[in-house]
Symmetry: C2
Subunit: 251 residues, 2 copies
Amino acid sequence: MPQGQDEAPVTAAILVIGDEILSGRTKDTNSGHIAETMTAIGIDLTEIRVVSDVEEAIVEALNALRARNAYVFTTGGIGPTHDDKTADAVAAAFGVGIDHDPRAVAMLRERFPNPGDLNEGRLRMARIPFGADLIDNPVSKAPGFRLENVFVMAGVPSIMKAMLQTIVPQLRTGVPVASVTLRADAKEGDIAVPLRDVQNAHPRVTIGSYPFTEGGRFNTNLVLRSRDPAALADAKAVVEAMLTNMRAAPA
Amino acid sequence: MPQGQDEAPVTAAILVIGDEILSGRTKDTNSGHIAETMTAIGIDLTEIRVVSDVEEAIVEALNALRARNAYVFTTGGIGPTHDDKTADAVAAAFGVGIDHDPRAVAMLRERFPNPGDLNEGRLRMARIPFGADLIDNPVSKAPGFRLENVFVMAGVPSIMKAMLQTIVPQLRTGVPVASVTLRADAKEGDIAVPLRDVQNAHPRVTIGSYPFTEGGRFNTNLVLRSRDPAALADAKAVVEAMLTNMRAAPA
């Protein structure tokens, strides 16, 4: 058996912070990118929450998520303007102080060598909760930070992606979940009962059924997922046989 | 003053249900559509949560969200297959029973007049918690449902959109938040301090600052939002003057 496959999976949650997502003005693409990244390294994403730019909302969600996940990734709210409240909220959630961090100030000074440019607004981006490690920002210097199991990243997708790349090597990863997608060429309703029986007979495999339309007709993708390659191969063969039998059956 | 502008806003939350979103395989577009719709009718979206196809996770999130929002909209998990657990979870969250609903069975029979097609799998889609009202599904008949302040919709975007259209007239709406977007032609860090002062002087207006890149350069959109048109116009004029002054200032 592959190493670790029966260990408890490493879990993570995402906390997206920003009124602009809740108003529908901005569409959140960061969550999808983080989700794909976690899947690739074998970390199970258990929950995504989107909250507004209100400190109490951020604190409450962060404390709920960090208590029951190995990691929490936040995006948004660490810029220079008054509506960026994430750093203060993280400090409040952990009950620690926050102040301008000399390491972060040095990073900003590299980008803004002219003292007039490193103004009070930009210096807000150097306010880091006590005890946090910084996360490099190769795009625009203003760092993210890690406090215990919480990783605080920017909301701008290009910066978030760059920060995530530097975070991934720090994570305890799991055995990736392997997956197989089978196109059913059938409607969900026509395969639901035999598919349930396959699922019941293969508890080490999770079988998801996802309808889609093509040329106005409903079809179904079946996605089989497992950390156990042998169990996955076995379930795949059984689902393929099920689909073949159905096609051969009289209409 | 426009009617209702000082009343407590009507609030809503979205609960997205599905492993396929958490794995990153499927990108959630339903939340963005619901968010835009709520903004248009003056309902404040306070939170979005995405949870997996696990009954306990759905129950916990639903009970948290329905207790503190006027409305909750769920998407996903009401199909015919074993991985669709939303209806049972909603019944469990409310502590009510669930069974095949004759009204829902009649809707399915309309689509599947041949008794052989209305099989056990498809009949799962007629399992509705006791006390719920049905939500019409003009696309594929299998209904959603409303139980108290919770609206349960399909995950397939075309069906979700159609269901939402039938739901909107049932909602108590609010005064829409009007918004103005001003392109700053400046970096966030250069306007953060004067913008904070404008925000402090205009408490009835919420000013959001959203950086974006264009041709490799950072720029900023300022979004002013308010239910009070006069306050919005006033703040807009002040922000515009602020931007004009900045451009006139020596570099």
